[in-house]
Amino acid sequence: MDRRRFIQAAGAGLAGLAAGCSAEQVEDTPTDESSDGGSADTPTETPGNGDSTATATATTTPTGTASSGTPTLRIGTYGSFVDAPSTSPGGWVKERFESEYDAEIQWFAPDGGMNYFLQRRQQGVTIDTDLYLGLTPENLVTADTGVEGDDSLFTSVDTSALSNVSNVVEDYYFDPQDRAIPFGASYISLVYNQNALDERGVGAPETFEDLAADPYEDGLLVPNPQNSETGLEFLFWTVDQFGEDNYLDYWSRLIDNGARILEGWSAAYSAYSSDEAPMVVSYSTDQVFADRYDQDMARHQVGFPNDTGYAYLEGVAPFAGTDRMDVATDFIDFILQPDIQAEVAERNVALPAVSNAELPSDYDDLVYEPETVVSYSYDDLVGNMDTWLNDWSQQVASN
């Protein structure tokens, strides 16, 4: 080891590492004011180059535009909206929006989802993102209970600027403070493999009790409610079905019957695809995807136990403190347009939120709706959600 060369290499390495540190001046204004550059999560093209350079505009104005050129709209969302291996609407939405508006979209999908932004707010760090797309009622409850006092993580838009807002299905609204505008929906349901059930000599599962019964033993895969919306809403569904006092007992029977809790929707669904079990908790829009990719429909049967299904609602809301409210409003207006809604629904394997979306004619054949829709409102969830989840978690993990 030539000593000099070693020291050179080490020095270069250390210099590279040091480039990752930065110091920026703390403004006296509330830290929610988004500033240009300087914060650590600005996406850059090359790794290790996330350092900040002090930009010319160190101060911010509430309605300022960026230094020059097209405004950038940063949208936070969940991973599979922009980057699923199978299908995701994110790229198409970006291209289409940018072709119609003079603005640029930057998608940002942190692993923790909405909680990531809540964390930053709690730590007093700039959020630096303008919208969150993919809010569920549970997200809102967590966000609202997680901030101090009357502060809110999100804010509302001026709905008069949204041309198609009157066609948003009334039942889909879930935010009592009118911040989140619904943009998509689906139903939590069972997805099962008829071939596999045939081999067992059983028919399709009809009720929740069926799932906990012998013929269906070792039959169900459930995404972990702790880290999956799907699983969490399935849990709420059982609370509704059995009541607060009995749902835990149901789950104990369900698990005794061999149901398995896997760590996320993707883990559960891909295990289902690998024939690990004949049934999985997923979405009733499953056949939209299967049809698109010419799958064997027998493996994509949709089931509604007790003829019920849980409403899965998604909304979009601007972050409080964004200085791009105008572009954000444009975006929400855009995403509510009928043709956009149709395309997004198909690509996201979901249902549109507006009643006048121009869906392909066979869409209805592929999407199943339950006779009775179960749904917990924001008010139902506040104060209960955490208890239900914790009680359930402790019971399942108990030894």
């Binding site: 540190c21 001046q25 996406p43 199978s86 942190p110 909680n115 690990e276």
Partner: protein
């Protein structure tokens, strides 16, 4: 040429202080910001988090109940509840036993037989340990799942299916996958240090081969075996991702709960559990260091002779064959299944999954995960990890071989990353450094990429130290005294004589650190939030989707990169790593 004397005299102490500083910034401070939440309730100091955990039956089972009502111990006999901690310890114990049982025969084969490719296989024994959990989970699913290879083979010969996923057995097996090869490696190295004359003497006195092994060789192997066993126990105790993936929530360990609490932003509980975990693991780490010190990596006057592996039938060779079959199923099959799954689809053989990788690379948007970027990032982060972890690890190894009071304590503290979960480290780095801290009217932040390198380096440097320290300790004193008698100061002796001699050990540590960095997942996923800092394991997670296909293709790429870089660096050091 003469260097300034002052540089030499202060060389080691200055480097020690710099290392300490780095450790504080990269590890102690970030982890501290998380752990402090365990004693802070509503802004004031309080121990209620600990009391509530310790008295909770969920965490401590019957023991907790007994704290308030000792009679319950008698009443509920023999149905004791383990609680989360009890279960975690129990599965760790089983995992350790399984790893020892599966690892010792491997050690026997490595130490006592000669066969082509022995050196490479020996290098590869460290590989399972660094595989990311997502890869192992997918591999095990493909191997032991309902429609996995094992079951298909069983069905083909008319045997019933094995329902393995979701059981304690599969978790134990997965832990053995990780740790048994390591035990084999460490024990084999110790075995090669046992002088052949000893068992031969025992046999000349009338002991059978087995007796001679039991009475003479085995006692000399015990420190090595215990070292490996303790390491296995610690890692199995701290395990979470593989537990969740293969066992499901029903088989949750403490770490699963820490992770869950962190996700729910319940930092108090997470910190409380993490503190209790750390106390337990540090105690075990201390014990591990004691045993490691007892292993002198001294070369035997005459190492045991090797028998050729291939040859006529003998009892030995039959045993090797039997073990080979088991080893194949446990260690090779999961990886092979993943490779197989990557080229298999509903329609049979297909390259569709790899096509996906290529497509993604060429057509993806900037906000999507691209394979080549993931590879690049992994390699760059790996290099960054080396820049930090190797000097730190070597320096701590030097410190640990100097004698001074409290050395064992310093050693244990330096090994603290063993005892702290990747989740806590990642979270600490995120909140402490990436989100930044305010001082003097400025907010100091660190980029996500740098934080990722820090997380990797923190996880890697203990392995560098544990590889280099025994090598340093094994250098004959007379070598150092000769150098000193020729005029070299303590620092010069270190630079001119000690370090060059342990270069093989340093290289082995480097290989390990690099591979660990590539496979790191728990901290990286928390820190790779900038959108472009994803690594190969993170990409695997992203590509999982509805089918495993794309993820397995990415996994094969990861495997290839890891294996190649690992064997390359490790063979440079002649394959002696982790007390080799």
């Amino acid at each position: 040429m003469e260097r300034p004397e002052v540089v030499e005299r202060v060389g080691v102490p200055v480097a020690a202080v710099a290392t300490l500083g780095l450790l504080v910034v990269m590890f102690f401070y970030p982890v501290g910001t998380v752990l402090v939440e365990s004693i802070r309730v509503d802004g004031r100091f309080s121990l209620e988090i600990f009391t509530s955990i310790l008295t909770s039956e969920f965490y401590f089972g019957t023991f907790a109940a007994a704290l308030s009502d000792p009679a319950v111990v008698v009443r509920s006999f023999p149905d004791y509840r383990l609680g989360l901690f009890g279960f975690t310890a129990w599965q760790a114990l089983l995992s350790t036993l399984a790893s020892v049982v599966l690892g010792l025969p491997g050690a026997w084969i490595l130490a006592r037989f000669e066969f082509p490719g022995r050196r490479t296989i020996r290098s590869l024994t460290a590989l399972p340990f660094v595989m990311p959990t997502i890869m192992v989970a997918i591999g095990f699913l493909a191997t032991f799942g309902r429609e996995g290879i094992v079951n298909q083979a069983l069905l083909a010969v008319g045997l019933p299916r094995l329902e393995l996923l979701g059981t304690l057995q599969i978790i134990v097996l997965a832990h053995a996958f990780y740790d048994a090869p390591l035990i084999a490696r460490i024990t084999a190295a110790a075995w090669e240090g046992v002088d052949a004359g000893m068992p031969e003497t025992a046999r000349s006195l009338g002991a059978s081969r087995l007796r001679a092994f039991r009475d003479v060789t085995l006692p000399q192997l015990l420190p090595a075996i215990l070292t490996g066993a303790l390491l296995t126990f610690i890692f199995s105790f701290m395990s979470f991702a593989i537990v969740l993936a293969l066992g499901g929530l029903q088989k949750a360990t403490i770490e699963v709960w820490v992770f869950h609490s962190v996700e729910q932003l319940e930092y108090g509980t997470a910190a409380g559990l993490a503190v209790l975990e750390i106390v337990f693991s540090l105690a075990l780490t201390y014990a591990y260091l004691q045993y490691e010190a007892r292993q002198r990596a001294s070369s035997a006057a005459r190492p045991p002779a090797r028998k050729p592996l291939f040859g006529g039938v003998s009892l030995d060779r039959l045993a090797v064959l039997g073990y080979g079959a088991v080893a194949l199923v446990v260690f090779v099959l999961p990886i092979a299944s993943m490779v197989l799954a990557s080229v298999t689809g509903a329609e049979g053989f297909t390259l569709r999954n790899y096509a996906f990788l290529v497509e993604r690379q060429t057509e993806a948007y900037s906000f999507q995960v691209k394979p080549l970027t993931a590879i690049q990032n992994s390699l760059v982060f790996g290099a960054g990890t080396l820049v930090l972890a190797v000097p730190m690890g070597v320096l701590l190894a030097v410190v640990s071989t100097r004698g001074f009071r409290g050395r064992k304590l310093v050693d244990t503290l330096a090994m603290a990353p063993f005892a702290v979960s990747g989740v806590v480290v990642g979270l600490g780095l995120l909140r402490g450094l990436v989100f930044g801290f305010e001082a003097f009217g400025y907010r100091f932040t660190v980029s996500g990429a740098l934080a990722i390198v820090a997380a990797h380096a923190v996880g890697a440097y203990p392995f560098v130290t544990r590889t280099v320290a025994p090598a340093l300790a094994g250098i004959d004193d007379s070598m150092l005294e000769s150098a000193r008698s020729l005029g070299a100061s303590r620092t010069r002796v270190l630079l001119d004589v000690e370090l060059p001699i342990v270069v093989p050990g340093i290289l082995a540590g480097m290989a390990f650190a690099f591979a660990l960095s590539i496979g790191e997942f728990d901290s990286t996923i928390i820190l790779a939030t900038g959108g472009t800092e994803y690594t190969m394991p993170v990409a695997m997670e992203r590509f999982r989707g509805r089918r495993l296909g794309p993820a397995t293709a990415m996994g094969c790429v990861l495997l290839a990169v890891t294996a190649v870089s690992f064997v390359l660096i490790d063979r440079l050091g002649d394959g002696r790593g982790l007390n080799g």
